[in-house]
């Protein structure tokens, strides 16, 4: 039996089974301290927007006793799944939410937040993992027309501004790559490469002028006289009459068949069988080729043993990608190293500065994510051809800087030519362009150089 016990400073508390439930009827009721003091939260009658706002505020807190707090709703509907409520109560009698609360609280106790990741994305991942652990849940995507990608992920949605997005999928993917989460494919989605929206209208268009003003018509083949034309030329009222032999077409399969269909564009009058397909993004209004859409997998996730270990023992910063990245410096660090080399060059020339510029044509066709992926791939390729002592950096997807240590200009040039050859081949395999796609240059690092002129 749930009972309203008292009302303190405008807040209502409900006690049951020795647990204290904070009842919130609006965003204005929220205060972190009072949430911390209560064992669970019950969210009263609110509209969808208000519920989302409230959950966002709670789950974005840094304190595990706030953001992991069990939350119950007075509504039992789909929203419950989408928002990741821990249960439903009608406020009259329900002991089950008390049991659930006790179980969750016991698990929250075990979550170790003494070591938390530094960067935002990993913090989100950790919070999600902690949520899964405390609820002993599978993270199942829920289809939703309010989500930009067509699916929401309970709990995690509240952590990111704008709700579910490709950023969220990326974070989950990081968890999978690091062996913290399992993944099971549930769906594949296509999103706009400009705004990452999934609300896309696929349009059949004329392959010649891209107009949507196209019409499809059946072709009719009259067996007797071998006449073939679009069905309109056979139509005579409700009947089909062959324009060649004036015979009535009575029976499909006996007198005639429809071997195919033809489209006609009412704008340019082009006739064709295979219409073009373009994707129109309702969110940003961009129209693009379907091949340019981003394909992403929607997967359900569960904690792995390793993930659970991290939740219970705190985040280890060793959970990092190793290897190649060691050679990749941030532009600032690269500039610093370059400056040092310039100073060293007052006595002798020991290093060579190299630069690769990639044609804008290539970079401009890639979306934001595509550029990032492209940048990673290029860095990976460059990294595989340079020595351990050489350094590489990039400021943008179209420019890559190298610093070759203890190499002659000739040696550095050879390396650069090899890299340029392989990059050109890689790009030419994927993009059909006739002009030079990559320009590589090298120059010795001498004392009168200034880093700001090179970068």
């Amino acid at each position: 039996m749930l009972q309203v016990l008292h009302q303190t400073e405008g807040r209502r508390y409900i006690e049951s089974q020795g647990l204290r439930f904070l009842f919130l009827s609006g965003v204005a009721d929220y205060e972190a301290a009072s949430v911390k003091d209560s064992d669970a939260i019950i969210i009263g009658e609110m509209d969808r927007m208000e519920i989302s706002q409230l959950l966002n505020v709670i789950r974005r807190e840094r304190d595990k006793s706030v953001y992991l707090k069990p939350i119950f709703s007075v509504h039992q509907n789909k929203l419950q799944n989408q928002e990741g409520f821990d249960g439903f109560t009608d406020l009259t009698s329900n002991e089950s939410i008390a049991q659930v609360t006790q179980k969750i609280l016991a698990r929250i106790e075990k979550v170790n937040t003494s070591i938390v990741p530094h960067d935002y994305e990993r913090q989100v991942l950790f919070k999600q993992m902690a949520f899964l652990y405390t609820r002993d849940l599978l993270l199942d995507p829920v289809s939703s027309r309010f989500s930009k990608i067509g699916y929401t992920f309970p709990f995690m949605d509240s952590l990111l501004s704008g709700g579910s997005s490709l950023e969220l999928l990326k974070i989950l993917n990081t968890g999978v790559e690091k062996g913290l989460l399992t993944a099971r494919l549930r769906d594949r989605i296509h999103t706009c490469n400009n705004c990452h929206g999934n609300y896309i209208n696929f349009r059949e268009v004329c392959p010649k002028c891209s107009s949507v003003n196209i019409e499809s018509k059946d072709l009719v083949h009259h067996f007797k006289c071998a006449h073939v034309d679009v069905i309109d030329s056979f139509k005579d009222g409700d009947e089909l009459i062959c324009p060649k032999c004036d015979n009535k077409l009575r029976h499909i399969g006996i007198d005639y068949d429809k071997p195919s269909t033809m489209h006609e564009c009412h704008d340019c009058h082009h006739q064709f069988q295979e219409s073009g397909m373009v994707a129109f993004c309702i969110d940003c209004g961009k129209e693009e080729d379907t091949a340019n859409l981003l394909e992403n997998e929607i997967r359900s996730h569960a904690l792995t043993e390793r993930g659970e270990h991290l939740v219970l023992n705190g985040w280890e910063e060793k959970v990092q990608e190793g290897g190649q990245e060691a050679k990749h410096l941030s532009p600032d660090l690269f500039k610093m190293m370059l400056n040092l080399e310039i100073q060293r060059a007052t006595t002798e020339t020991r290093s060579v500065f190299g630069r690769f510029e990639i044609s804008e044509i290539i970079v401009s066709v890639l979306g934001e994510d595509g550029r990032e992926q492209f940048q990673k791939e290029i860095l990976g390729i460059i990294g595989s051809y340079i020595d351990r002592t050489d350094l590489v950096s990039t400021k943008s997807a179209d420019e890559y800087l190298l610093l070759f240590h203890d190499k002659t200009l000739e040696e550095a040039r050879e390396k650069c030519e090899l890299i340029e050859h392989n990059l050109t081949k890689l790009i030419a395999d994927n993009i059909n362009a006739e002009q030079d796609l990559i320009t590589g240059t090298v120059q010795p690092v001498v004392s009168d150089l200034r880093p700001q002129d090179l970068m």
Partner: protein, 435 residues
């Protein structure tokens, strides 16, 4: 000197002209008259008028290039994907370039749809129409016809290739005479080096297609625009409803155009090369189909040409009559001739058979000389001369036997309606309505 002649020659020299005529009447009356005297007579006239023709041709050519009309090239076929790219390449070399290319895939069950769609996407063909259900060659050609936009239509087979000026030359005749409704191209055998079978067909094509059609065209009785390469005026094609169910639809449509009051022209300079069957088994099948179509179309479907009526036309009559006479009637006559000789001159067979061979081989060489005079590939075609003696057996025995079997099967059994060359649904209708 006489001792040097073989005995059978000496015999015929001594037997005198009347007996020679009595024994070899079939050769002298029909074959020698038609294929030597008439051919050389017309060839002579053709040669004498060459200057006028060249002048008119130049004017017509100028008109074509001044007007620069769009030409619709249509290529209907089944499982022809493997040939299309080569064909497109061949057409890209043409001197006349203002054409649209429409390929109709008649329910292919190989890679043709993928190849066709790919070529269409790459802009190498203008329109690729895939008919999921096979309808037969005529329906595929009619599908293409429905979407043509050109002033002239050129019908091709996908496995052909063309001389660089072939498209230009097949269209120019339309500017020579407005009454010309269709122009036949000059189809030659490309793979003549592949086998003896192909080589014999190469000679046959040169004699019957290249030269034979120059003669019939000159006389105004040319009766078949080859499906491999022919040009048409679209308004006529549309008026007569395009192609009817085959096999033999190329001959059928030519007759339909003739009956509409238009002339048919053969253009020897519009050269197209095609692959002939390299094996006799395949050739036999092909010829049985072709020969059956002569009975089906020229004897049955278009029999009205032989009878007086409001639209009776002597040239149409002669055109079809010559075809039927030299194929069907003379086939029967040859049997009569054989029986005649066997019954009356059995004891002389030792003189008759070798003399027949001498006559036919000689005629073959004389005919080949006319081919040589007309041809633009003289040196190349000289390679064929060494198998000429075998033409007597090829045409006189092999083709005649195949022809006789085909005529019997079509006359008695109407077998052309069961030919898998057409889908059953179409053949059933054609048979039911006697088309």
């Amino acid at each position: 000197m006489e001792n040097l002649w073989p005995e059978f020659v000496n015999y015929w020299v001594e037997a005198g002209p009347w007996k020679f005529l009595r024994v070899f009447w079939y050769f002298l009356i029909f074959e020698f008259t038609r294929y030597i005297i008439l051919d050389y007579f017309v060839a002579g006239l053709f040669y004498l008028r060459r200057k006028d023709r060249r002048h008119a041709w130049e004017i017509a050519r100028q008109k074509l290039f001044t007007e620069n009309p769009l030409i619709s090239i249509i290529i209907p076929g089944k499982n022809e994907g493997k040939h299309i790219f080569k064909l497109v390449k061949s057409l890209a070399e043409q001197t006349y370039q203002n054409f649209e290319l429409i390929v109709v895939d008649d329910g292919s069950d190989d890679q043709t749809p993928i190849i066709g769609k790919n070529l269409e996407k790459r802009g190498l063909i203008d329109m690729f129409i895939r008919n999921e259900m096979r309808g037969g060659k005529a329906s595929a050609a009619n599908t293409a016809l429905a979407f043509t936009k050109g002033k002239y239509i050129v019908h091709l087979d996908a496995d052909c290739s063309f001389d660089r000026d072939a498209i230009e030359n097949v269209v120019i005749p339309f500017y020579l005479d407005e009454k010309i409704g269709a122009v036949g191209g000059n189809v030659k055998v490309r793979n003549y080096q592949e086998s003896l079978c192909a080589r014999l067909q190469a000679i046959e094509y040169l004699k019957t297609v290249s030269v034979g059609r120059i003669i019939t065209s000159y006389l105004g009785i040319y009766k078949i625009v080859s499906g491999a390469f022919g040009a048409f005026r679209p308004e006529i094609l549309k008026a007569i409803g395009g192609w009817d169910i085959g096999p033999g639809l190329d001959g059928d449509i030519t007759v339909k155009i003739r009956k509409s009051g238009y002339k048919i022209h053969f253009e020897p300079t519009a050269v197209c090369l095609t692959n002939a069957p390299a094996k006799f088994k395949v050739l036999t099948k092909q010829r049985l189909r072709w020969d059956k179509s002569i009975i089906r179309f020229r004897v049955r479907k278009h029999k009205d040409v032989y009878f007086p009526h409001a639209n009776f036309n002597w040239l149409n009559f002669i055109s079809l009559f010559e075809n039927v006479f030299y194929n069907v009637v003379l086939d029967i006559t040859w049997i009569i001739y054989t029986v005649d000789v066997v019954l009356h001159y059995w004891s002389l067979m030792g003189f008759i058979i070798p003399m027949n061979f001498v006559l036919y081989i000689t005629v073959s060489y004389v005919q080949m000389l006319s081919v040589y005079l007309f041809s633009e590939r003289r040196q190349e075609e000289k390679k064929l001369w060494n198998v000429l003696p075998l033409m007597t057996i090829y045409t006189g025995l092999y083709l005649r036997t195949v022809r006789t079997i085909a005529y019997f099967k079509e006359f008695v059994l109407k077998e052309s309606y069961d030919d898998p060359w057409n889908p059953q649904k179409s053949s059933r209708m054609a048979k039911r309505f006697g088309l």
